[in-house]
């Protein structure tokens, strides 16, 4: 279970962006969170991915309350959640070739030896051809870069996926390919998904249930 309980979060304690948000994702479930832009859903996604410390409330991951966020969260908790961000350009270190970008979580967690094989496997999963792996982010399109970012998120076989407007920058066919890659991964591993977005049609087709922002958080 990935549970958000009474989460209040923001960047200024006096003016929180998210107030009193409750959300639960059960294992294997795909939950869509639907909200207009600027409502705070990305902030909530960052909290769910343990990347932003909430001002109040708690996150419970598989029955264990999360005590710290970002670097203060234990590595097992952090890597149990894979994150895909809205803008692949900003989410990719401009210096790394795509192969290094995908291998980064493997290297950071001491799985250097198996990295090359795993990268090839992941690239195949998300539909990246081998010649793209040697390129740097500015030499590929947004769609190709987002595929690499999805591969990076899947590298450590997370039990949970948080997709923050993953397909907002992409065309319809790339969107379909990425959603299919996520669904294939979930079908083979039983991972839960929290997909945040403002596209009602997409979320309704993709997710088991779609919750509107008003039902999750107060005002």
């Amino acid at each position: 279970m990935l549970e958000l309980r009474a989460v209040t979060a923001g960047y200024d304690r006096r003016a929180p962006v998210v107030r009193d948000a409750h959300l639960t994702v059960t294992p294997g479930e795909a939950v869509g969170l639907l909200g207009p832009s600027g409502c705070g859903k990305s902030t909530l996604a960052r909290v769910a991915a343990l990347l932003h410390r909430p001002d109040a409330g708690e996150v419970v991951l598989d029955g264990t309350p999360v005590r710290g966020f970002r670097h203060r969260a234990p590595r097992e908790q952090r890597t149990a959640i894979g994150v895909v961000f809205q803008q692949p350009r900003l989410a990719a270190d401009p210096r790394l070739r795509l192969a290094d970008l995908i291998a980064e979580p493997l290297r950071a967690t001491g799985r250097r030896a198996s990295a090359a094989d795993r990268v090839a496997e992941l690239a195949d999963t998300v539909g990246l051809t081998p010649d793209l792996l040697g390129r740097r982010p500015h030499e590929v399109s947004d769609g190709q870069l987002q595929r690499a970012c999805l591969a990076r998120a899947l590298a450590l076989k997370p039990r949970w996926l948080v997709c923050d407007e993953m397909t907002a920058m992409l065309d319809a066919s790339t969107t379909a390919a990425l959603v299919r890659a996520v669904e294939d991964y979930r079908a083979s591993t039983g991972a839960g998904l929290l997909s945040v977005g403002h596209d009602r049609v997409l979320l309704n087709r993709w997710c088991d249930r779609t919750v509107p922002w008003e039902a999750v958080a107060a005002g």
């Binding site: 670097h71 994150v83 961000f85 990719a92 270190d93 980064e104 979580p105 950071a108 970012c149």
Partner: protein
């Protein structure tokens, strides 16, 4: 309608292009002159001492304070030493002090700035208040204080300049790290299990290196000027060691008697490399300017 618009735009375009081309050729000229000057300086400093078998300390009292001539292109000083040779040896010492001090200051500044920016919170506040406090002390004064604690020599000057000049680099690096730290790719690295150390070394530091490198290059002439100032005040290098500062200091007496060459040439040796380095750094800054880079990319 269209022809009218075409003729209206016609004469304006070449003028704009010519202006742009002229500006670019000035840039190229400045870059080439700067690069040539830096190259000549480095070559002179590296090649002259091993290749030219002349003693820069050779005293010839019969030929003291001779104006520039074919035998002594820069003239001689008050004990008849050849000033061209003294200037090259002096530049060698000054450049060594400048480069080593600038590199040390950059390493200290980058380490402190990166640590403050990457750790954030109270560690950042504490370190930056310390930097503010140190910056409020005039750095020449602080440098004199540090030099005065040691015997005269090259290393006290290096230490003094390095310990007083890392502050601006620390500020630049910290600001750069803070801006990089909030990018989603750092979030992605954190989510991928990267430690603080790994995020800093792999993602943050490579991003600030161009800025830190530029700061280091610009600091070389600044450090040379400091060495000269300390030596001129009699606190830096011992007077028998030729450095640009000690040469200018030694020439003070003869300047009042009308002998201009012992002051002019060491002064030029100090100013020209400074201008050349500034010219090169300007070109580099233009290269790493993000806006220009994004224009090149598109």
């Amino acid at each position: 309608m269209t022809t009218e618009a075409d003729t209206a735009a016609g004469p304006a375009a070449p003028e704009w292009r010519a202006h742009d081309a002229a500006r670019r050729s000035t840039h190229v000229l400045r870059l080439r002159v700067s690069a040539a000057l830096v190259a000549v300086t480095v070559l002179a400093v590296l090649l002259v001492p091993p290749l030219v078998q002349l003693d820069q300390q050779a005293v010839d009292l019969a030929a003291k304070l001779e104006p520039p001539s074919w035998a002594h292109p820069f003239g001689t000083d008050d004990v008849g030493r050849d000033l061209l040779l003294r200037c090259v040896y002096g530049l060698r010492v000054s450049l060594l002090v400048g480069v080593v001090a600038a590199l040390t200051a950059t390493v200290i500044g980058t380490a402190v700035g990166a640590a403050a920016g990457a750790l954030g919170g109270w560690a950042d506040r504490l370190v930056m208040r310390l930097v503010d406090t140190l910056s409020s002390v005039p750095h020449l004064l602080l440098g004199i204080f540090i030099v005065a604690m040691f015997r005269p020599g090259v290393w006290p000057v290096v230490i003094s300049v390095a310990l007083t000049h890392w502050l601006s680099t620390a500020r630049i690096v910290r600001a750069e790290v803070l801006s990089l730290r909030s990018r989603p790719f750092v979030d992605a690295a954190v989510s991928g299990g990267a430690s603080r150390w790994r995020v800093t070394v792999r993602h943050l530091l490579p991003g600030v290196l161009p800025q830190a490198g530029l700061a280091a290059v610009l600091m070389v002439p600044h450090a040379m000027w400091h060495e000269s100032a300390l030596s001129f005040l009699g606190l830096g290098l011992p007077t028998h060691t030729a450095s640009l500062g000690t040469l200018i200091q030694g020439a003070r007496g003869s300047l009042l008697a009308g002998q201009w060459w012992p002051t002019l040439f060491p002064g030029l040796f100090l100013i020209l490399p400074t201008l050349a380095v500034a010219g090169l750094a300007g070109a580099w800054r233009e290269r790493i300017n993000p806006r220009r880079r994004s224009e090149l990319m598109l």
